[in-house]
């Protein structure tokens, strides 16, 4: 489908102009009886828009296993057709990079989004084609990927996604707002990459590990936990319906949320009123210490501060929606309940 870009599209006409020209050409061809003219024009219509890669109608793919070409619905509801098993992949979300490595197709990733935490280490040799806030469309086009995985909810700039699609590339947008959505994304990634069986096995494994953490914290008290994302200016913590709040609940805590379904800032007053029993510092890598938290004006009345229950936590492990998620849940459970015995599981190894 990418090759089709080479078909005649020399001028920069807007769509209506192109349709007009095509219509005239058809009329002329019909009048002169030149069948060849029609057949030479026809491919241009398919090359004119992103329709070549994004199907306009969502036809359900046959459920039989080696299903290529397959039409899938990505997390933004766009129907995407995968023509064949992709051999050149670009991943614009670090979590998807991890998933692809764990599924055994890491060697097919030819371009990735910069990952400050660089996991897995094998991904280090893959060139960066995007940073936190920009996507190098030129580099991606030069790689001629069979599929591009992008992050939803503005993780990958929507303009960049539209641009890649307009150039005829196949883009799958992934965004997981909940644990179930993470499972779904892993399975979707597996389907796109032609590794459905491995993806299902991986999801089963993650579910099992989640279950063992749940069993370990079952019956324990559920302290009120404030997961501090940032407090350099306003204080940021999990929103009511966030993935983080769900993880804290699963780890045996009662999350203190911002009181809004999608806003992450919380006032000190609300925080004092909610009275956290445990404060987890996701901002510890940025130099925030328990002493600093305790010394903030007004914070000394909180139970967590009085009892010294302020602990650092590795935010990346907890929040990255990929194959390490159960490690994150176990870490969260262990940090909330330091005295409980939470089973430690081996990570799903990235396949080189």
């Amino acid at each position: 489908m990418f090759r089709s870009l080479r078909s005649p599209r020399s001028a920069p006409p807007p769509g209506w102009l192109l349709s007009l020209v095509l219509a005239i050409l058809f009329v002329v061809a019909a009048c002169t009886g030149g069948g060849t003219a029609i057949s030479s024009v026809a491919p241009a219509t398919t090359a004119a828009g992103p329709a070549a890669s994004v199907a306009s109608t969502a036809t359900p793919a046959p459920t039989a296993s080696p299903a290529f070409p397959a039409t899938l619905t990505d997390d933004e509801g766009t129907a995407v057709t995968i023509a064949g098993e992709p051999h050149t992949i670009v991943s614009l979300a670090p979590a998807t990079t991890e998933t692809l490595f764990a599924l055994g197709v890491g060697d097919r990733i030819k371009g990735k989004a910069q990952d400050v935490f660089l996991y897995p280490p094998q991904a280090g040799s893959v060139p960066d084609v995007a940073t936190y806030d920009s996507v190098d469309v030129e580099k991606i086009v030069a790689l001629a990927p069979d599929v591009v995985f992008a992050g939803g909810n503005f993780l990958t700039p929507p303009d960049a996604i539209a641009k890649l699609r307009s150039l005829g590339l196949t883009v799958v947008v992934l965004y997981a707002p909940s644990v179930d959505a993470v499972y779904r994304d892993i399975e979707l990634t597996g389907e796109v990459a032609g590794r459905s069986a491995q993806a299902s096995a991986m999801v089963d494994r993650i579910r099992a590990e989640f279950e063992s953490v749940r069993a370990a914290v079952a019956g324990l008290p559920t302290p009120r936990v404030f997961y501090e994302l940032d407090a350099t200016g306003a204080i940021y913590g999990p929103a009511d319906k966030s993935f983080l709040a769900e993880m804290i609940r699963l780890a045996g805590g009662t999350p203190i949320t911002t009181g809004s379904a999608d806003k992450y800032d919380i006032s000190v007053e609300r925080l004092i009123e909610q009275d956290p029993e445990v404060i987890l510092m996701a901002d510890a890598p940025f130099g925030v210490t328990a002493e600093q938290v305790a010394a903030r004006p007004g914070w000394k009345v909180m139970t967590a501060v009085k009892n010294g229950q302020i602990r650092p936590i590795d935010d990346q492990t907890v929040t990255r929606p990929g194959p390490r998620l159960f490690l994150g849940l176990a870490l969260l459970a262990r940090t909330i309940h330091p005295d409980a015995t939470v089973p430690s599981a081996a990570p799903i190894p990235p396949v080189p």
Binding site: S10, L17, D133, D136, K163, S166, G168, Y264
Partner: protein
Amino acid sequence: MTTDSGTLAPTRPGVAWIGRARRRSIVLAGSGLLALVAVVCIGVAMGSVAIAPLDTLAIVTHRLFGIDLGRTWSASAETIVWDLRVPRVLTSLVVGTALAVAGATFQGLLRNPLADPYVLGTASGAALGAAIAVLLPVRIVILGFGLLQGLAFLGALASIYAVYRLSRIGGLSPLTSLLLTGYAVGSLLAAGLAMAMYLSGAALRQIFSYLMGGFDAASWPQLAGTLPLVAVGCALILMRARSLNGLLLGEETAAHLGIDVGRERAILLALASLVTAAAVAVSGLIGFVGLVVPHVVRLVVGPNARLVLPLSALVGAVLLAFADVIARSAGEIPVGIVTALIGAPFFIVLLRRARTGYEL
């Protein structure tokens, strides 16, 4: 430069200035055109992916004239050169032209050296429109134009229309009233924009990138939508250079010269706003070009709008295209930062070296 004597003696310095302006404008136009060719070549040849210059040349000649230079290239190289770089360079030229011409027009109309294309609230209107488009949960793309471009365009035009209508009520002189109303409406819209940004959550980055301006999203369909508006708008403004010259002398003098001041002002205001709106819809808010380019041109060739308008178009196009080349090679930093970083010191040097008494 005149050899006449006697009766023409008192006007000789003025005539000499006109002759000098003509020569200087020819020099400026010539060097501007050379720079234009250079910047187009650099802009198309350069990018984050290295493509052999001969391949680039072959792709462009193949696409433009259908001439085959006997070279082969990959499909991705062709996409990069023809669908990414060429429309980007051309869009930066068109937007540079639009902002510089609109800036020169607003400065002349408002007789204010601090006027720029955004002075009457266009920028805030466009930005608010863009922010609303980002926040709305719909994604429509028609002919390569998304909701963002559409609402930014409408926002810019709606705000200038509101400013114009509101300024006509009340007892102030029309110019003062326009400027102050523009400021007030702009502040109101800026508050709306701040509110939208506060509510935007994860979408904040997209709004922010619109505010910084840039050409990442440039494409053939967008260029095809913008170019006619800018070209027609600028041509119509150029045809009214005489009115603009008259208005520069003040309303009474202009009226004595036979210019229908109210009508001409409204028409020029509408044209300059249209051109600005078309530009900001595709590029976001790029500052500085519209403010400084007309001044630079005036410092070189004097205040005559017949010279200032076309030369501003040329210089604005070249400056913005160069700024975008630098922005791209510095790793996609916002182009507005580059225009200000390079343009401001250059402008200060030019101001300090200006020998003649500079007037708008």
